[in-house]
Symmetry: C2
Subunit: 383 residues, 2 copies
């Protein structure tokens, strides 16, 4: 937009003129209409990462919430701290310790799901045109947020061990040569959304070293880390680097998503700006939601609970892989995830999975075409 | 920032260089540290708008929540719709009908408190340098959000009937002459935060006409509308104009704030962008929180409940005004609010209420100095 166009000596002529520049990026995506279809009860949905709540003891949860209001309603139903409840922030540190993280509750910000953490990180870092590096492919919800902050999203190739360090070095070199400002890299190291790929420890170290040296923050999104099927996940990247890693966690996949409680663990240098950004965005997270999760963690054997989730998801992963083995052609290939929710299938060249969607819906099955996981929406480039 | 400075052919030199431009506005305000002091139990706080929850029947609330999880846990604890639960959106329309609003639930977006609605509206409208008009003085939380989106906030004088139409016309004329883009005006017509002033019907109509003609959206923030002490509030501005008014509501002051449930009722032309902005910001509001409020509205005599809140707050308003009458000098004056939470006191020239704060804290009383309610933080200019 030129400076002249910005001047406005009269009322605006039309609605478009009244929106902010960034609003041009707020268009309905194809995946949004897909989710509407996928949530119909008659459809077998392989589309969204909706946790299976059948393993949650509803009677226990009901009693805990009743007790919470009876005994501590004045606090649970009042406004709370912008940064999040101190007790829950301590318990969050205990949860993260399972993946090797040593953290101070002062460095934890509780958010309305980890999606809000993505939004706040984008807010403090991204000017229009700044570069955000992401895996190829990457989580569609993160791509949407980065787009709203008018980032230039650059995908970096993956192999069977996750993001390729060589591809990362090349991308940084090229982007810096072009004069681009690289703000952070967004990674899902465990059971990645959408590929299901997990990054081994040595690869994590390599990526951390590159990013530290290049002063590029690592945003480690880890909602599935505790959902390893056969063995625990490798230590979190944050366990190895507390100064250059922003860690995002969530209770949506390990307890329930309905309270919308996630968090960010951040280097102390970023904490104040993130808290202020969050207060400006929602004033404070729900005290009730936070104390509900806190009470569940304090009173329920939550590690056993997660183990029962894991059993549930392992059976489903096995069923999926067996069906793929039995029914898909040899010319297709797919990932074999060791945890989490996602399998990524690559079909032979010439098959357009987006065009195939309506046929799948008629057959009462929904999936997400791979192009949704690329910022430019192009066909999948992941092997 | 010049184009040259934006180029970066090497790693950034320091942390400041890594933040977005807008992050410069994310600094702790004086009012933040004040709230920390004011929430200490030994302090009589006249500072924040914390509702008094003593009128809430905690046993009823506890039972409703227990029943919600037992009977509908699979839905209440799962992810929900980005726009908000359809049933609650219908009930919200019933609540708004009390202030003369006829609305379609399709035009309601449920938010994490009405603060999130302020954030989303800022997101779809404000480019850096765009003008937002506000009352002089205005709600500190809104000023903070507008600042993060790098708006130029322009205060418009008030009189005893609220925002002055003459001052508004003058401001628009001057700003348009300067080539400024005016995006919206932010108003709290009932028991305004912080002055307690209410805008009569005729004044509302006048302001609406000016804004419609000038194509400036009216953001009507109405958390206190149902808290009139002696008679119902005038009809909402949205009741008179469904195309140019964005209405914000909240259950924080009429039920409880701990669930963080607010909403925006928007013209259909804005709905899609706001829903997409909200999904990018938090994915979806808490299903549990929404169904908790929904169940309370369906099962509790909530109008009677609000009446008991009103009785509680009337007694406190009376005590405040009686004390001011009895103890304050004739050279001071103050507003006499007909509802809501706030009294605005103007002291004789020469008394610096900010400098007086430490003395008040020693005497175990907290208040908010008037300069906090001005974007430029200058001394109060409200008569």
């Amino acid at each position: 937009m030129s400076e002249t166009e910005r001047y406005q000596t009269h009322a605006p002529e039309n609605l478009e003129e009244r929106f902010a520049h960034r609003a041009a990026h707020m268009k309905p995506s194809e995946i949004r209409s897909l989710f509407a279809v996928a949530s119909r009860p008659e459809i077998v949905s392989l589309a969204g990462g909706m946790p299976n709540l059948s393993a949650i003891p509803m009677d226990v949860m009901a009693s805990l919430l009743e007790k919470l209001v009876r005994e501590n309603g004045q606090e649970a139903l009042q406004y709370g701290s912008g940064q999040g409840h101190p007790k829950l922030r301590e318990q969050i540190c205990d949860v993260m310790a399972l993946e090797g993280i040593r953290a101070n509750p002062d460095d934890v910000l509780v958010t309305t799901g980890s999606q809000q953490a993505l939004d706040l990180i984008s807010r403090i870092f991204i000017d229009p045109g700044d570069v955000v590096l992401v895996e190829a492919p990457s989580y569609v919800g993160a791509l949407g947020t980065f787009a709203q902050y008018e980032a230039r999203v650059v995908h970096v190739e993956m192999d069977q061990s996750g993001l390729s360090p060589e591809a990362l070095r090349d991308a940084i070199k090229t982007l810096r040569y072009q004069g681009s400002r690289i703000k952070f890299i967004y990674l899902i190291p465990n059971y990645q959304n959408p590929t299901g790929v997990t990054m081994p420890s040595s690869r994590r170290t390599e990526i951390l070293n590159i990013c530290r040296e290049e002063k590029i923050f690592v945003v480690e999104d880890n909602p599935y880390g505790l959902l390893g099927f056969d063995r625990p996940s490798p230590n979190a990247m944050r366990a190895e680097d507390s100064e250059n890693v922003i860690y995002l966690g969530s209770f949506s996949k390990t307890i329930v998503p309905g309270f919308r409680v996630g968090w960010a663990l951040v280097p102390p240098t970023l904490r104040e700006k993130l808290v202020i950004a969050s207060e400006s965005s929602i004033l404070c997270p729900s005290n009730f939601s936070q104390l509900a999760i806190s009470s569940y963690l304090a009173n329920q054997p939550w590690r056993d609970q997660i183990a029962s989730f894991v059993n549930l998801y392992r059976v489903r992963r096995d069923a999926m892989l067996e069906t793929l083995d039995a029914t898909f052609p040899k010319s297709a290939n797919w990932t074999r995830p060791k945890g989490g929710f996602y399998v990524w299938v690559t079909l032979p060249a010439g098959i357009d999975t987006k065009a195939m969607m309506p046929k799948a819906i008629v057959a009462k099955v929904a999936y997400v075409p791979g192009n949704a996981f690329y910022a430019d929406g192009l066909a999948c480039r992941c092997g």
